[in-house]
């Protein structure tokens, strides 16, 4: 796929007949709309897009997005998406899901996918709560937060996905806010164009079950890294910014590796030609069989 030469397309082309059924006011609407605009801006054809999600409110996104998609298992969007990319590396692969899906049950795949460095974009709609199961604490819930599963306050610590991603070797680490959609769009386009694994954690407030981390709460706290002169090529500076949580929370590109190492799909010897899924003649040639048999004679 050559994104550089493609013509921008209307975001409407990525809207299917099925409308989203999230709660009115949910942050995920912004995430979806911006994604449709971003892929339109990059001119990626619908049939060249594979959107893979896990399970949860936000993981319903592929059903509301006109492309090829898989609405897979809870926590498993990343290995499924990796399989998709290996099978056809010419497609643009976007994985998405929530904080429970990606940072809770899917945590192992999250770390290893960044280490593996597959060329794909991973959007986490982070609302600091389990919404679809009606409001339990999540890995990104703040300590002390009262939820249905922590009626006396969350006794556990809060996961820092940004610091974790940086430590795991992720080459593109960004954070967005679904309350600032123009800013978010630029993160998406940069992430999709980044030649490796790109993570965008998007604050996408749950209006029904998280009464603590609301749109207003985030609006008061988020600031743009680019306004503060942050250098996204500086890993150490990114780690410092990643630690910020409280009165000031940064959004924008925390880290973008200026010398990205080649992604695993770019290096895999089997993926140097056309997408494997498009190969029509299957099976070994007689010559290949004879060579293999010779090893056993």
């Amino acid at each position: 796929m050559t994104t550089a030469t493609l013509q921008p397309r209307d975001a409407k082309l990525y809207k299917p007949e099925v409308p989203p059924d999230w709660c009115p006011g949910c942050g995920d609407y912004g995430v979806l709309t911006v994604l449709q605009r971003a892929v339109g801006e990059l001119g990626i054809l619908n049939e060249n897009l594979m959107v893979v999600s896990g399970i949860g409110c936000s993981s319903n996104l592929p059903g509301f997005f006109k492309s090829y998609g898989m609405h897979s298992l809870h926590g498993r969007s990343l290995p499924v998406a990796t399989g998709c990319k290996m099978a056809n590396h010419e497609m643009t692969v976007i994985a998405c899901g929530g904080d429970g899906d990606g940072y809770g049950i899917g945590q192992g795949h999250f770390i290893h996918s960044m280490r593996r460095n597959v060329n794909m974009t991973y959007i986490v709609m982070d609302n600091e709560i389990y919404g679809l199961t009606t409001g339990q604490t999540s890995p990104t819930s703040e300590p002390g937060m009262k939820t249905k599963s922590t009626p006396f306050g969350n006794p556990e610590g809060q996961l820092n996905p940004m610091a974790l991603a940086l430590a795991a070797g992720c080459g593109f680490v960004a954070r967005g806010f679904s309350g600032d959609i123009n800013h978010l769009k630029s993160l998406y386009t940069q992430a999709i164009q980044y030649p490796g694994f790109a993570l965008i954690d998007v604050f996408s407030p749950c209006v029904t079950f998280n009464k603590q981390n609301t749109f207003g709460w985030f609006k008061e706290r988020v600031y743009k890294l680019e306004d503060k002169g942050h250098d996204p090529s500086n890993w150490t500076a990114a780690m410092e910014r990643a630690k910020e949580w409280g009165a000031q929370i940064p959004i924008g590109v925390l880290y973008k590796n200026p010398n990205p190492r080649p992604s695993i799909d770019a290096e895999d010897p089997a993926l140097q030609g056309a997408g494997l899924a498009t190969i029509k003649k299957l099976g070994l040639t007689s010559e290949q069989r004879k060579k293999l048999i010779a090893e056993y004679l």
């Binding site: 059903g63 298992l73 290996m86 497609m91 895999d268 494997l276």
Partner: protein, 605 residues
């Protein structure tokens, strides 16, 4: 009458017994002799005891056989364990400088080798194996050149290693031929062109020959050999090979790849398979073709990582929640592992469902000779109703309800056929119905559509066939790898005049119910299988309504030998309805040191 010999090579892990065995196997195969190898070993990298059994014959062999008649003891432990198993006519080769034989059973020829003198004082300790192998080959009446050519092949990049091995082997060969009596069994060369293969290699090569393009795995014994083969050959063959963080990731990655339209596969053993189970249901509801191999070992839990069992049938049948179509196949031999790969990928794509292959340690880690011509065969590739290019259809429904239940499958990337596959229940267009208030009509339609696909599968199977004395009123029933030992047991019983037939099952789900009933109804059915609970006997009862009259079971970790089944069936014919057999030779017994919490008198901790 076949001429055959069973050789045992005993040593500690790290002693080089495995390569000695490989060299003997290869040497035999190059003489056109058929070989079947099984190694009994511990879950240890160094030390312990490892016992490699090679059955070598001038006709085809299907199993490990019963009685070792020649052995190489690489250390004292091997000598102490196995010498008493030898019967008259056997030979026992060992390093006379290091190993003391004890009293040999009557008629067993002890063949000590002065290794220090034969190999030279500067030789590496490992050279004792080569000297012993040279001696054995001499006493078996092989041409020396057959062995030296194997060294030349194995070490072709290291001429000095070839020379050292050939010299040591020749010294052993000449000394033994001059000093000892040849083994009573003479194995004559045949013209067969034979390849010496491991079951795992054959599963992997079979997958490659069937067009597998993505392979994912997490290391787990005894399935790891498939990963090693794929990793070393993937580059040449254009197969994308990924080692993944866990088997959950493995299964999901393989399914993601299968969804995109490549033939994809993963393999593991029972514990890893347990982690894959949720994903199997995903392949079921998304109707994604994928081939998943479970190489069974002794369970439950970590169980016996290096031992044989057929105990994961229940797990495969019950893997993942809900009802969905799946196909379960258990290859019956190492050769069949090859054919099963051809069938599995075709069935997975034709019926758009997961195909679960139940191999086991005996087949996967066992190795045997196969005709080279058998391997050099182009597989039939049937991709089913697959759409690889835009056909102009503007109303494509991925999950269209069709008479066969099979919906034509478009691979992602094709224009104008967009769809999203969901693990949620969905309609014909793939739109989930889980969020609507209720939709019993669509739900039932989609469950029925998927289930209907399975009606066609049995027609694609090779029909069941009775082996042995087909007119007999008694039928021995096996599944999977037990075919080998059981077919020989039935053949022996028939020769003794015992009327008994053999029915071997390979296709487990969906089951050949009608054929099974036609062949077994009214007969005395004896199910022979390698687990405690009688998982296959239960399956036969559940699927065909046939209750076994008697069962012969083994679950001690070591595979069936034909004699176990012969004895078991004789017990049954005397009136027993359950015979649980065990390997009892001294070599199978291991004294265990007292562990923590076990008080041994007089000791201090």
């Amino acid at each position: 009458m076949a001429n055959e010999i069973i050789v045992g090579i005993g040593g500690a892990a790290g002693d080089g017994g495995a390569s000695t065995g490989d060299n003997l196997a290869q040497t035999s195969a190059r003489q056109g002799l058929h070989v079947y190898v099984y190694t009994s070993y511990q879950s240890l990298i160094r030390g312990g005891h490892s016992w490699i059994r090679l059955r070598i014959s001038d006709t085809k062999v299907t199993n490990i056989g019963d009685q070792v008649s020649a052995m190489i003891a690489l250390n004292q432990d091997s000598m102490d364990r196995h010498l008493q198993e030898m019967k008259a006519g056997a030979i026992c080769i060992y390093n006379g400088d290091k190993v003391k034989p004890g009293k040999a059973p009557e008629g067993v020829q002890l063949c000590p080798l002065p290794v220090f003198e034969l190999a030279g004082k500067d030789a590496l300790p490992i050279m004792q194996n080569t000297v012993a192998l040279g001696a054995l080959v001499g006493l078996l009446g092989y041409d020396f050149q057959a062995l030296s050519s194997v060294f030349e092949h194995t070490f072709k990049k290291k001429p000095q290693v070839v020379e050292a091995n050939v010299t040591a082997a020749k010294a052993g060969f000449d000394f033994a031929v001059k000093t000892y009596k040849k083994h009573g069994t003479v194995l004559k060369k045949t013209d067969a062109k034979l390849a010496m293969v491991h079951g795992n290699n054959i599963l992997a090569m079979g997958a490659a020959n069937a067009g597998c393009k993505v392979y994912c795995a997490y290391p787990m014994s005894p399935a790891t050999g498939i990963l090693h083969w794929m990793a070393s050959h993937g580059k040449d063959l254009g197969i994308c090979v990924r080692q993944v963080e866990d088997e959950i990731g493995v299964a999901n990655m393989a399914i993601g790849a299968g969804q995109m339209g490549v033939r994809s596969m993963c393999a593991t053993s029972g514990g890893g398979f347990a982690l894959m189970t949720e994903a199997i249901g995903m392949a079921g509801i998304m109707e994604t073709p994928v081939v998943m191999i479970n190489v069974m070992r002794g369970g439950p839990s970590t169980g016996l990582p290096t031992k044989q069992e057929q105990g994961d049938l229940n797990q495969a049948i019950g893997a993942s929640q809900g009802d969905f179509p799946r196909i379960i196949i258990a290859p019956t031999s190492i050769a069949d592992c090859y054919t099963v790969m051809e069938e599995s990928f075709n069935l997975a794509e034709k019926y758009q469902c997961p195909v679960l292959v139940l191999s086991d340690l005996l087949m996967s880690e066992g190795h045997c000779t196969l005709e080279a011509s058998f391997l050099d065969r182009e597989f039939k590739i049937d991709r089913g109703e697959l759409i690889l290019e835009d056909d102009g259809d503007k109303n494509y429904y991925r999950y269209k309800d069709t008479p066969s239940g099979i919906s034509p499958r478009v691979i992602p990337g094709v224009p104008n056929h967009l769809y999203v596959s969901a693990t949620d229940e969905h309609d014909e267009d793939g739109v989930t119905i889980s969020d609507v208030y209720t939709d019993p009509i669509t739900r039932k339609k989609m469950v029925d559509k998927r289930a209907r696909k399975m009606e066609g599968v049995v027609k694609d199977y090779t029909p069941l066939k009775l082996e042995g004395d087909a007119s007999s009123n008694t039928v021995v029933v096996t599944y999977g790898s037990t075919w080998g030992a059981a077919s020989e047991a039935v053949e022996r019983l028939n020769k003794e005049g015992v009327k008994v037939a053999h029915l071997s099952f390979k296709y487990l789900v969906p089951f050949q119910e009608k054929e099974a009933i036609a062949l077994l109804k009214g007969k005395k059915v004896i199910v022979v299988e390698m687990n405690k609970a009688g998982q296959f006997a239960r399956h036969l009862r559940a699927e065909a309504g046939i209750t076994a009259d008697a069962n012969v079971r083994k679950y001690d970790g070591e595979p069936f030998e034909p004699k176990h089944i012969v004895e078991g069936i004789k017990e049954v014919l005397k009136g027993k309805n359950l015979v649980e057999v065990q390997s009892l030779e001294p070599g199978w017994r291991t004294p265990h040191p007292p562990g923590p919490g076990v008080l041994s008198t007089g000791s201090t901790h």
